[in-house]
């Protein structure tokens, strides 16, 4: 089981002081947070991609490469990469380059984005969101898997005799997750290719996450990639911890009440009941996260949202200490113990490379 964090990269004023970080401070803070994630023993750091204020991460591979240069072990990922408005050719090139620079510590998560104007800003139409995600990703797969591609589609200039360079590290494309909060088509897409499916699991009730994951698992089996319980599932989550739950609630409430997405809506208590948000002691966070598998089955990746809504860097780093020291070791042990042997781990570059080599041998033996 992999544990990690994902960041939206919002520049939000701290509601308790009114002060917003500069873009430079926010970008540097993101790097500090990623380094801390590795230091406290987490497995994955994922950044969002946005092209409008108040967000800073418009150039994910720049930031991920900078982090990779200062880390040894952590997997660099995205949450999400905009498969709708980015040119799939550029995604193929950028992330293959990042693979080489990081010795394969890369995977990525495809998403459609939720900001309407980004589509026209990049010359696209939001009504084509699903068709863009489908066509662009299909091309991206071919660019990584075929040395020379001839291609024609609805949305992009045709390609004749095109080779995306560099070729993927060891001939193994990065593992891909598909993230979607509410589109069954994306669960279907992930299932069709045998890719991973990630549910953000922050803004909606667990019952909804459960429905999306169940569809993905059922269709994963339908498309012949293995049993439904062997599909590769990731979940998001959102926590705030202090040794006493009263202190956690008191400290987090102003950030919750003014948060960009759900602020000024339901109460912290209602939202905690309706969604997986957990504000309390480390023990409460552990207990809640041990229940997720009852809804979505044994899953492979848990990412936490830690740095948003104006939380100061110092607080975020403290949260990562608590997460890494008190929560993740327990969750890792307990969840690993509960997972049956036939349920695989999330693929990494090493496992995909080994699987590819095994397949070659098998073909050779025939």
């Amino acid at each position: 089981m992999q544990f990690g964090i994902f960041t939206v990269g919002d520049v939000t004023p701290d509601p308790t002081t009114g002060r917003a970080p500069s873009e430079a401070e926010r970008i540097k803070a993101t790097v500090r947070i990623a380094l801390k994630a590795e230091e406290v023993g987490l497995d994955v750091f994922a950044t969002g991609e946005h092209h409008n204020p108040p967000f800073v991460p418009s150039s994910p591979t720049t930031t991920l490469a900078f982090i990779a240069a200062q880390t040894e072990r952590i997997v660099l990922s995205t949450a999400t990469t905009l498969i709708t408005t980015n040119d799939p050719v550029k995604i193929a090139e950028d992330y293959a380059t990042l693979q080489h620079l990081t010795d394969g510590r890369v995977d990525l998560m495809m998403g459609r984005g939720n900001t309407g104007p980004v589509y026209p800003w990049f010359g696209k139409d939001i009504r084509d969101g699903i068709p863009l995600a489908v066509e662009n990703y299909h091309l991206l797969r071919r660019l990584w898997r075929e040395d020379v591609v001839d291609w024609e589609g609805r949305f992009r200039t045709p390609l004749q005799s095109f080779t995306a360079t560099p070729r993927p590290l060891d001939g193994v494309p990065p593992f891909v997750w598909h993230g979607s909060i509410r589109s069954p088509e994306i669960a279907e897409q992930a299932a069709y290719y045998g890719d991973g499916f990630f549910h953000n699991n922050i803004f909606w009730p667990m019952s909804h996450t459960e429905q999306m994951v169940a569809l993905y698992r059922r269709r994963f089996e339908h498309y012949g990639h293995g049993r439904a319980d062997q599909a590769i599932v990731g979940l998001g989550g959102q926590v705030f911890m202090r040794p006493s739950s009263q202190d956690a609630v008191r400290e987090f409430r102003p950030y919750f009440d003014n948060a960009p997405v759900y602020g000024h809506g339901p109460s912290l208590e209602d939202f905690s009941e309706q969604t997986p948000l957990t504000v309390g002691s480390p023990q409460q966070v552990i207990e809640r996260h041990l229940t997720f598998r009852e809804h979505v089955g044994d899953y492979q990746r848990q990412l936490f949202l830690m740095d948003h809504a104006g939380l100061p860097l110092k607080t975020v780093l403290e949260q990562l200490d608590i997460l890494g020291e008190q929560v993740v070791p327990v969750l890792r042990k307990e969840l690993d113990a509960r997972r049956p042997a036939h349920v695989p781990d999330a693929p990494t570059h090493a496992t995909l490379k080994a699987a590819g080599e095994a397949e070659q041998l098998e073909v050779g033996a025939r």
């Binding site: 269709r219 498309y223 339901p266």
Partner: protein, 202 residues
């Protein structure tokens, strides 16, 4: 015996509310007319006042709370809908509109709907045809030709004009509901579009 369900959405704010009173009269008359055709009727009333906070939360968070979700499911699954709003500032109330704003696209397509409204004076009666009817046209619902408006004065009238309007509109709705066929949309989680179809494009 055939059974049909009628959902009643009422946006009255008072307790008791004349909007609810009108909704109840429309529901009772529709029920009687359907029962005369040998159709038994289950009526489910959604009082929007009871879920007003959840509606606002849904606008802000993007997902429905438990009670709102139950209410929208009752409406989506019903064979017919009676939708009644007070007229505020020349149109439906904001609460009434919010309920229909948070429904998924197309869930009311082909649904027989009787629209009705209440107001302080008769002068607002055309708001039904200028505001409420176009909204349901956009949702591709099947709205009965007769819409029922009740002004405060109707509740003390010696004439039976309101009764006649209720009777006519309820008869139109009952005829549509008796035919059936508005069972609601296909659940995309039960029947996802196969990927080959998504891949081959429109």
């Amino acid at each position: 015996m055939t059974t049909r369900t009628l959902a009643v959405v009422t946006a009255g704010l008072g307790r008791p509310s004349s909007t609810r009173l009108l909704a109840d009269r429309l529901a009772a008359t529709t029920r009687r007319l359907l029962e005369e055709q040998g159709v038994s009727v289950e009526v489910e009333v959604v009082e929007l006042r009871d879920i007003a906070h959840e509606l606002t939360d849904n606008l802000l968070t993007g997902f429905p709370g438990a009670r709102l979700r139950a209410a929208t499911e009752r409406v989506v699954r019903a064979d017919g809908l009676i939708a009644v709003t007070p007229i505020f500032t020349a149109s439906y109330s904001g609460l009434f509109k919010s309920f229909f704003d948070v429904l998924e696209a197309d869930v009311l397509a082909d649904k027989p709907v009787l629209i009705a409204a209440t107001g302080g004076t008769e002068r607002h009666s055309l708001a039904l045809d200028h505001a409420v009817r176009p909204m349901f046209a956009y949702l591709r619902a099947v709205v009965t030709p007769t819409a029922v408006y009740a002004a405060s004065s109707d509740w003390g009238s010696r004439e039976d004009a309101l009764d006649q309007r209720v009777e006519r509109a309820a008869r139109e709705l009952a005829d549509l509901v008796a035919r059936g066929g508005a069972a609601g949309p296909v659940d995309p989680f039960d029947e996802p579009t196969p990927f080959e179809q998504l891949l081959s494009g429109p």
